[in-house]
């Protein structure tokens, strides 16, 4: 049993339908968790790992001409 913050206030998770998943691409890995109450989304959180962002020396050289 756990307490979940929802649009209806604090609720026991046993009263809610839990859905979760992972979406991943070149930019990020997003783990999401949702709680639904009678077909209504009442909580959604996302835990997302950002991946690298690279500025190359070649790109700088191109900008400098």
């Amino acid at each position: 049993m756990a307490i979940v913050t929802t649009t209806k206030g604090e609720m026991d998770d046993s009263l809610l339908e839990k859905r979760e998943g992972v979406d991943e691409n070149d930019n990020e890995r997003a783990e999401w968790i949702e709680y639904w109450l009678d077909g209504e989304l009442v909580h959604r959180s996302v835990h997302m790992t950002l991946k690298k962002y690279t500025l190359t020396g070649e790109a700088i050289a191109a900008q400098l001409g």
Binding site: T7, V46, H47, M48, K51, Y53, T56
Partner: protein, 158 residues
């Protein structure tokens, strides 16, 4: 051994630290031995004011997620850079030392980008990071940083 043409690695690290000034106009006054404050703002996937990218020069509230009734503060949250810029091989790099966290927010209009900007220096833009569209409902968005190493750091100058 022949000489080698290169942008020096020390210069790349210096870029992160605002050591050099090639132009006297608009140069930040970095005489104080304190780091600037950086922030991270979230932007809508379908922005009415245009899109963010390499051409973005500064933070703008246009296209930012709503701060009305969402518990999101306009301008976003502070980014912690607890580790100094460094280098490995010929790549200089830096990554925020903590996750960027938006707690207890409700953002029902899809957003897909975060802008990191320097709130100390006229909100000048640093970088834009995009991701798949997301919404948050009475929940928390946690942006976990990648490993702070050459090639995997959030910001690399290779």
């Amino acid at each position: 051994m022949a000489n080698t043409q290169a942008m020096t690695t020390s210069f790349k690290v210096d870029l992160f630290n605002a050591v050099h000034a090639f132009n006297a106009t608009g140069v930040p006054a970095h005489t104080a031995s304190t780091a600037d404050t950086f922030k991270a703002a979230l932007y809508l996937a379908s922005s009415p004011g245009g899109t963010l990218g390499a051409g973005t020069t500064a933070y703008t509230s246009t296209g930012e997620v709503s701060s009305s009734g969402t518990n999101y503060s306009s301008g976003g949250v502070t980014v912690t850079f607890g580790t100094a810029p460094t280098s490995s091989g010929t790549t200089a790099f830096i990554t925020p030392s903590a996750s960027i966290v938006y707690s207890s927010v409700t953002l029902t209009t899809p957003f897909d980008a975060v802008l990191i900007y320097n709130s100390t220096q006229s909100n000048k833009a640093v970088s834009v990071h995009t991701f798949g569209s997301q919404t948050i409902t009475a929940g928390t968005l946690t942006l976990v940083m990648p490993s702070n190493a050459a090639g995997t750091a959030l910001l690399n100058i290779a």
